[in-house]
Symmetry: C2
Subunit: 227 residues, 2 copies
DNA sequence: ACAAAAGTGTTCGTTATACACCCATGT
DNA sequence: ACATGGGTGTATAACGAACACTTTTGT
């Protein structure tokens, strides 16, 4: 064997309410209880399992630490610089995941697992700051051309909710009229025929995602890269 | 240790003349001299080295099998399905590389190393057909928005040569006028002031790549992902 | 002079963007 | 009735594709 340790980590994103109730793009971190970097926060993960696919391992570690199931999971990058861990050579295959908001509400939290705003988290162990930065960049870039925003929402949603997801992730306001037309032109969503009542104004149409269309053009990898 | 073997492989692309002298997008393959898949062609690669970065290992394996130095090298994907090798669990971090045409002419070739057209190669060992297909897709996709075409050429080139690279990779003719304007607008190239004489017609300007601009927007990973 | 490729100009259709405006509901 | 967000229409700009046209060399 090569003396190289293989690990799997996951950057998990969800939209969660902050102290004032405003939704914020957030991610769960785990506090390290051992050296190196004891006490520092880090990405959830662990050693790769010989019997599982890498994506399965990522989803399992995700579930073990947060109690959540991802609605989107994709490989991010394999980090393998020789000096990235003081304990020896570790290659980490990193995944990134999205979870539904209501799912994220049920997330475990405790002394050693906590959620932080995606762009205001403490300095992390190892090279995890770089990894989170790259995952954030991928999320924001991919949101522009791939149909992944629904992964933050439940099975049905209004276009205003979908637009809010884009606005929160991209951190800039979007024109409601143009956003509507872009989404409609993409064919990504289908109206359910129902409307959301209970608001203080005209009830908006509810939509669901068109599951007959591939969520992203991933090329020949297809669903192998995403689950 | 986990019982998982870590390997590094590389998909290498170059534009090489075929029997009739026409340039074709090609890649070098190595013939397996051991089971499993003995006699079948496969991607160059081997076990990861504990002392080197993954990219260095990819470049070294590339040099060892083909005698070439890559002008572009980027991580493609980590393939790790449990059943992808009959000998046991192998996770392969795969890179893709571009080499200059004149460099590729000096490439080693022999009984167990040969070049094949990128879209007409024999059935490969392991899941390497999938890998090559994905690498081809990435190359063609990335050529559209990133400044990588020059990696197939020498230090200076004409816009017609650069356009030919695009046409050969994308397998479709491009409008010379529009191509010129797109490249000029991107600011990717700078005129050297010289012209290429010796042709049968008006001598074209020679250009070189503007190295002060990052070749691609790779986000916070920056040059870490590319070398 | 002519062929061939270099290089420029112009038109046209699509798409992004900004913003004015109407619609439907709860209060 | 009116405030509020849902939803539609429209003018403008930016961009890419198509193609006519001029320029410059070798033969």
């Amino acid at each position: 064997m090569s003396g190289i340790e293989l690990a799997v980590s996951t950057v998990i994103f969800a939209l969660r309410p902050d102290a004032e109730g405003r939704l914020v793009l957030s991610l769960p971190l785990v506090r390290r209880i051992r050296e190196p970097f004891e006490g520092r926060w880090a990405l959830p993960g662990g050693a790769a399992d010989a019997g599982e696919s890498l994506a399965d391992t990522a989803a399992r570690k995700l579930a073990e630490t947060t109690g959540l199931a991802p609605s989107y999971l994709e490989q991010l990058y394999a980090f393998g610089e020789p000096d990235r861990s003081p304990t020896g050579r570790v290659v980490s295959v990193v995944y990134w995941a999205l979870v539904h908001g209501d799912e994220a509400d049920r997330a475990l939290e405790g002394e050693n697992v906590a959620w932080f705003p995606a762009d205001a988290h403490p300095a992390l162990a190892f090279d995890h700051d770089l990894i989170v930065g790259y995952a954030l960049w991928r999320l924001r870039t991919k949101l522009g051309y791939a149909r992944i925003a629904h992964a933050f929402l439940g099975p049905t949603f209004t276009l205003a909710e979908l637009r809010q997801v884009h606005e929160l992730v991209l951190q800039k306001p979007l024109d409601p009229a143009n956003f509507r037309r872009q989404i409609e032109a993409s064919g990504a969503v289908v109206p359910t025929g129902e409307r959301q009542t209970g608001g203080r104004h005209r009830p908006p149409k509810l939509y669901r995602y068109d599951t007959t269309i591939e969520p992203v053009d991933t090329g020949p990898l297809g669903a192998a890269g995403i689950r």
